[in-house]
Structure formats: structure tokens, C-alpha cells
Symmetry: C2
Subunit: 331 residues, 2 copies
């Protein structure tokens, strides 16, 4: 066998015919049944599994803890991301410290300090506050989506630019001739800014006149959207646009509610495509809130962990997105 | 001042005019500005704040970590619960280890072992698997909702019985004369079983004929509900019931979808009240999926933590629920 691909804990579990958790316990010296311990040990020998294969990039003095900094888990996108990060860490024998930093920047600093002091092995951050200045080159950290001026930080994101293009092209495919873009954005730069770039690029490519609502996020989203809507009505009461690419599913959902309130029909008068792919009740079988360009949350989480524990981290890793129907398009 | 109420870290932050995180850092010896450190130290003296006030019930050898075992964070109820537990721990200078145990019972055992080995200070568990047999009297643990035969474990839950009564009485108030109850239940006993008891009690009290769909949870929820619906049609096509108390918002949401598919109107023909109070997109401003008996998630989380760190834990603590409109009732 010449393959240089290292065996994973998953391979060991499969080979031994036991659960991942059992392998993890054997490796961490936690008692399991004699029978299972022998099975796992044999599988480790057979596969030449090296316990630290995955963790080679992390410090020697291990806590086996990784801190995940996210704004909150109320937002279903963050909640799903946290869930997948936890699974991804667990199968490598690591555990997740959850830090919901919404509105409390001191919390982020607190967790960054833990990393500096070797109390956690690394940090995965999905944050909208300005922690860039606290991050040093030595800190094992991966950021999701956000862009920091300190360029050494490895970033993982969806291919937002391609997603913006895809949204426009899907709306065109379903008959739209005047797709607009709407966004309430954070003051911090991030990869998600490229959704708009993708929208503008696709408009230019397909000879469409771009038009958008793009303002800093605020408490008055509904009045702001209402004013935008009023300005986009023709004298006969119809709208100047027939499609909306919303920066997030949530923006799309809010805009849909407003359109319905104003007597328009979705998707008959206006089709809407959001971004994120958020399922109702967290179950994909229950469908999405709006048709959407879906982020591959599970793969994104896996990639963040993989990069955190690897020696050679690429500075930017983008994963592909895909379209999914969610009731607000003619498809 | 004769009050014996101990000061909290929150009081110190308020007195010092600094953020909670700053107080936490001073207590944990993490550097803050000289000015803030002096302010915090003065507030600690003024208030006679004792750092370990909250943690007196926990072991002396502290990790300051508490493991939260939940099935997942995809489910918005669990996600919200995790968020509030994290906040509640943070303000006491403790951190949250997140364990999503869905389908992997070994994970729960893994975390229970950590508690036994002093690697975490305690465990808060919201679990549907059978970990009761692994729990000993010495383990600092609080369970949410679930009932274990091992009675020594302190439990926290919503007042599910009162919630069942309230659902029936609200449906009656809005004009229902034939409220039914629907549930797909876990095989493990829990406090939430009392929702049905409350429903039955209120039916008896108000001289209503009880009627329900109550089966073990399965993959065929829709066919099961459809069969139930067919059996409850009058010869003229109308239904034998005019109100539904659903065991969870999710069950209510599924039943609503089915009713709409079958040509009935909600709330005109049938009113629905669920249980949980799950807001769309995790934002209470965006409303609920269905009208609901809402669990006080934030207070439940706070209570779990409070009990975990207290010396004298009551064996059962129930918190009150309340009704909230969510579009599926005539109110």
C-alpha cells in the first residue's frame, strides 16, 4: 500500500466495529470493556493510526479544548454551525468551549487570552466585533467569513461571489428580468460582502441594470424597506423589479412579509432568493423560509476544524454553494 | 444593612461601572487596565463580594467548566437553552463545554466521566437517552425535563401540567368546544408528560370529552396524523374537533400544514396551540411558528446553573409558563 493518506479515528472505529466514542475513550485512557479495548488497539495497529495525526499543528501541551466564538446560538445559522463544529471536534477527540459573544466584546478577549495561556488549543471565530488587533501570529485560530487586516489568519467561507452570480442566474432562469439586491450590512468587512460583487458581476454579464438597497444594519429595517418599495412603484402600482436577491434568508423573509402586507404576491409578482439555506425548526425536511443559495454548513465546520489542526493552513478556503427551492421562486 | 443576600459578580460590575467581563478578568487574574482593576477591587470591598459565593456547591478543585449535554443545537429550543446557559455560566466566571449527544450515547458517558474525574465541575443535561444508571449521588448534575429513576438528581422544568390546563382554557376562551391533544412522544419518561395530564385535567374540569393522538415518535408522523384526521371527519366533511393542543410547537406546525393541505382553515376551522414558544429565526420580534404555551427558556437556564452551584438543591423546580399568540388562534 503506497497511499500516504493517514488513517483517521473514524477509520479505526470502522475497522474495529465500534463507535467513535469508544475509540476516543481508549485513546484518552477512559475505561471501556476489555473486548472493545482489544478491538480498538488491534485496529490502531492494523491501520498504523497515529493518535496525533490530526492535531499535529496544535501545541504540544494539549487541553483538547477548542473555543468557538459566535455571536449567539439563537440565530439558526450560528446554531447549526456550532453543532457541526462540535461533531467535527469530537471525532478528533477534542471538545468545544462555547462562547456566545453577542454584545460582550470582553468575552472574546477572555477566550483569546485562554488560547494565549494554553488553556485552549485553538479558536474558531465567527465574530462581528473587532478582535483583529488582539490576534497574534502564534495563536491557532481560524475565522469564518470575517476579514481582518491582519492577513495571517486563515479564513474559511462559502463562495459568496459565485453565490451572488448564481442567485441572479436562477432568478433569470425563472423568468425575472429586473432582479434587485437588498442588504443590511455589518460595519466590519467580511467574505459575505462578495455576494453583492457577484450580483453586480452577473448583472453586467447578462446586461441587466443593477439596483439595490444596501445600508448599514439598523433597528428600522421595515421602514427602510418600505421607503425603498414606495420609490420602486410604477404609476400603475406595479413594481419596477420582479426579483430579489436578499443578502440573507432573514432579509428575504422580512422583505417577503412586507411585499405580502403591501398586497403583492410571492412568487407571482416578485420572486425572492435569500442566502444561507436556513431550514424551519432546524430540519431540512421541513423546508426553507425562502428559496435560497445554501451554505454548506457541515462542510464549512469540518473545514474550519481541519485547518485549525493542520500545519499548513491556506489563508483563504472557499466552499461551493448551491440553490435550493423554498417557496418564493417559480421553481 | 441586615440583608443576608450575597453580592453577585453582576452587582460588582454595576457598582464599579465596568462590564461583567472586566470583573471576571480581575477575579481570574487576567490583565485589565489599572483604572478598571482599581474600580473592580474597590467594588469587591464595598460589597463584601466573595468570589466563590456562587460556586460553593462545586468541588474545591475547580476547572470552571460545566458540560451541557443536549441532543443538538439544530432544534431551536435546545439552541436557545444552550445560549442562555452559556450566559448564565459566564457571569459566574464559568465556561460551557458543549456536548451534542444526539444518537451518540457514548458522548454522554464521556462527559459524565469528565465530571467524575474532576475535569468539569458539573453537568447540565437535557437528554433523551438513558444515562440515569451512570449518575451517582456525588456528581454535580442538574437535569432539565427528564425524569430518572435515580431520584437524587435535581430537576428543572416548566410547569407542564399548568401549561396543559392553560392551553385548554385558552382554546375555550377563543371559542373552541372540542379541543383535542396530539403528541409523538419519547420512550423515556419526563416532566413534559404532564402536558397531557394537564389537558385531561382541564377537560374533566370543564366537562369536555377528551380525545387525542398519542403515539411513540416515529418517521411516519404525517401518515399517522392523516389517518387520525380521516377518522375525525363528520359525514359532511367537517371535523369533530375545533381546537388542537399540540405537545410541541413543531407538532402543532406539522398538524397545521396537514390541515391546510386538506383544505381546512387555521384558525377559522381549527385553532392550534403548541408548547415551547419557538420564535422564527430565533427572534421574538419575528413571531412564533404557532400560538404557544411558552417555556421561560432564559429563566430555566438560569435556574439550572443556580441549582448546579448551590449546596441545597431542591429535587424538582418548576417555572411558570405563559400563552403567546402566534397566528393559529382567534386572538
Amino acid at each position: 500500500m503506497t497511499s500516504s493518506k493517514a488513517s483517521t479515528m473514524k477509520d479505526v472505529a470502522k475497522q474495529a466495529g465500534v463507535a467513535l466514542g469508544t475509540v476516543s475513550k481508549v485513546i484518552n485512557g477512559i475505561p471501556v470493556s476489555e473486548k472493545n479495548r482489544l478491538k480498538v488497539e488491534e485496529a490502531i495497529r492494523t491501520l498504523h493510526y497515529e493518535v496525533n495525526t490530526y492535531a499535529r499543528g496544535l501545541k504540544i501541551q494539549k487541553s483538547n479544548l477548542v473555543a468557538l466564538i459566535i455571536p449567539n446560538t439563537h440565530n439558526p445559522f450560528f446554531a447549526g454551525f456550532a453543532d457541526h463544529i462540535e461533531s467535527s471536534l469530537y471525532k478528533r477527540g477534542m471538545k468545544l468551549l462555547l462562547c456566545c459573544a453577542d454584545g460582550i466584546p470582553e468575552k472574546e478577549i477572555d477566550y483569546l487570552n485562554m488560547a494565549v495561556n494554553n488553556k485552549v488549543d485553538g479558536i474558531i471565530a465567527l465574530t462581528y466585533s473587532d478582535i483583529g488587533k488582539y490576534i497574534t501570529r502564534d495563536l491557532p485560530i481560524v475565522v469564518f467569513d470575517r476579514f481582518f487586516e491582519n492577513q495571517v489568519i486563515p479564513r474559511v467561507a462559502s463562495d459568496n461571489f459565485a453565490g451572488g452570480c448564481l442567485a441572479v442566474e436562477k432568478l433569470m432562469e425563472f423568468g425575472c428580468r429586473h432582479p434587485i439586491y437588498i442588504r443590511f450590512h455589518s460595519v466590519f468587512p467580511g467574505e459575505s460582502d462578495k455576494r453583492k460583487d457577484g450580483y453586480l458581476y452577473a448583472c453586467k454579464k447578462h446586461d441587466l441594470e443593477p439596483d439595490y438597497l444596501d445600508v448599514v444594519d439598523c433597528d428600522e429595517r421595515i421602514p427602510v424597506m418600505k421607503e425603498f418599495l414606495t420609490k420602486h412603484k410604477n404609476p400603475d402600482g406595479t413594481l419596477t423589479f420582479d426579483g430579489v436577491f436578499a443578502h440573507t434568508d432573514y432579509h428575504g423573509y422580512l422583505f417577503k412579509k412586507l411585499l405580502l402586507q403591501e398586497g403583492f404576491h410571492v412568487p407571482e409578482d416578485v420572486q425572492i432568493i435569500g442566502f444561507d439555506g436556513i431550514p424551519k425548526f432546524g430540519n431540512i425536511e421541513d423546508g426553507l423560509f425562502v428559496s435560497s443559495i445554501c451554505q454548506p454548513v457541515e462542510q464549512l465546520a469540518e473545514k474550519c476544524v481541519e485547518i485549525l489542526v493542520s500545519e499548513n493552513a491556506p489563508s483563504l478556503t472557499l466552499l461551493p454553494v448551491k440553490y435550493q427551492y423554498g417557496g418564493t421562486t417559480k421553481e
